[in-house]
């Protein structure tokens, strides 16, 4: 079976950017939660 339908280079690039932004968001939330309580435990 020939698979002609695949993401275009532009789509791949956009997908990579989206993925990185989302990963940074997740890490930022983690960082904020931990740092908030590390700097002010109560």
């Amino acid at each position: 079976v020939t698979q002609n339908h695949k993401p275009t280079p532009a789509q791949r690039k956009q997908a990579l950017i989206t993925g990185i932004v989302l990963a940074v968001m997740a890490l930022a939330v983690y960082g904020v939660v931990v740092l908030k309580y590390v700097t002010n435990p109560t």
Binding site: V1, T2, Q3, N4, H5, K6, P7, Q11, Q14, A15, T18, G19, L22, A23, M25, A26, L27, V29, Y30, V33, V34, Y37, P41, T42
Partner: protein, 532 residues
Amino acid sequence: MSTATHAHDHHDDHAHDHHGPPAGFTRWMHTTNHKDIGTMYLWFSGFMFLVGGTMALGIRAELFKPGLQLMDPMFFNSLTTVHGLVMVFGAIMPAFVGFANWLVPMQIGAADMAFPRMNNWSFWLLIPAGLLLMGSFLVPGGAAGSGWTLYPPLIIQQGIAIDMTILAVHILGASSIMGSINIITTILNLRAPGMTLMRMPLFVWTWLITAYLLIAVMPVLAGAVTMLLTDRHFGTSFFNAAGGGDPTMFLHIFWFFGHPEVYIMILPAFGIISQIIPAFARKPLFGYASMVYATASIAILSFIVWGHHMFTVGMPAAGNLFFMYATMLIAVPTGVKIFNWISTMWRGEMTFETPMLFAVGFLCLFTIGGFSGLVLAVVPVDITLHNTYYVVAHFHYVLVSGALFSIMAGVYFWLPKWSGRMYNEGLGKLHFWLSMIGFNVAFFPQHFLGLAGMPRRIPDYALQFAEWNMWSSVGAFIFGFSQLIFFYNVISTIRGGQKAEQKQWEGADSLEWTHLPSPVPYHTFETAPVIK
């Protein structure tokens, strides 16, 4: 391993030319195909459902009559804890991710997920996490006994099983976050020409919103359990009152994750139901746009209601009132959804095959769960009912007859598309009715037990609770064993059911039914579908 990497590079460079799936275990170990990974998620979920279900039957066997019958109280605590963790993180969530893997690319006209290798990794992370959770029963002191909420101070005091549980939760969280990144990226970037956001099937919409919820709250849980770990081993006192910490703070952080988590488990269920009801009513979904906005509203509101899980900790009255009214507000978008599903059925050419039976069962029983949630939202009522069996009844109506029934409905609905074979309708209906009866006999009496004051998470109870507990246990065993019919039906369908048609359900209109044969080929679309 290097051979495998090379094989994948070759695979991608030549755009999946000339070959179907490799044979044997390597197909599953190395696969980057969204359908293979979806299948693995669903089987993993099914296995964990049996594991968690067995624990539930252990709990109900112990509670069949007053007194200690079968196990010591610590083991009972471990069963309730790991049952909750397994069902939430091992059964319900992976099942919906399995649906997302199978359906999102097909329903938006994409070739695969955006990050296929990360998709593989997301799945295989589940295995060590599951082993850690299960293995914690074997270490000295037994598995975590704190309840799935992992509240300190108990969680700080227990043995190595807690560390295993914390590591498992971290791994499961990482898996969920990677899965969510994949789903959002796929939906935002890889839709077929003409597939605008407001043309996407509701299932895709609900998963897009759910994935954002996951990315927002999973790291919060990760942060909370990291702090638990440092409290246990690195001398900090975030939650340890003896060191100046505050156990209540953990409750706030946990439930800031925990309440959106409830919607993470129910929004994809709404999506599945929103696909099934129009198909069997043979009418378009009533109020599509309002369904999208209602889903988004529920997700946003889910961030500001966490306090309703902890009305008894002594928050200021203004805080209690805020959380009470915010919680009640969620009934509005949820009501919109229920109204739209009923309106879709109104004057439809309805038939009641198994997926529709489960969908209607979902509608009736989830609404009961929603109403008992409203009851619990009222502060003075909640203070009375907190930690009673009323709460247990409420969340099982939401998560079993809500999330699980929708999973059953979805499997019956899409199994002909996935396997190319039609399941046994008679067995499906038998499964539905036994589940419906067993579920209600198991969980409806728990409302009465809770109203009468029976606390949750106890292996023994006062004599006045005996009769309804006996009924609840009988119902649980009916419900539990009826699930074997489901597994038999699925396996026998895959091994040799009757051939399914491309459009097995007359009213189904999403791309997987209109553009793809049954079973779906290994490489989903040869050319991008154009949606007009």
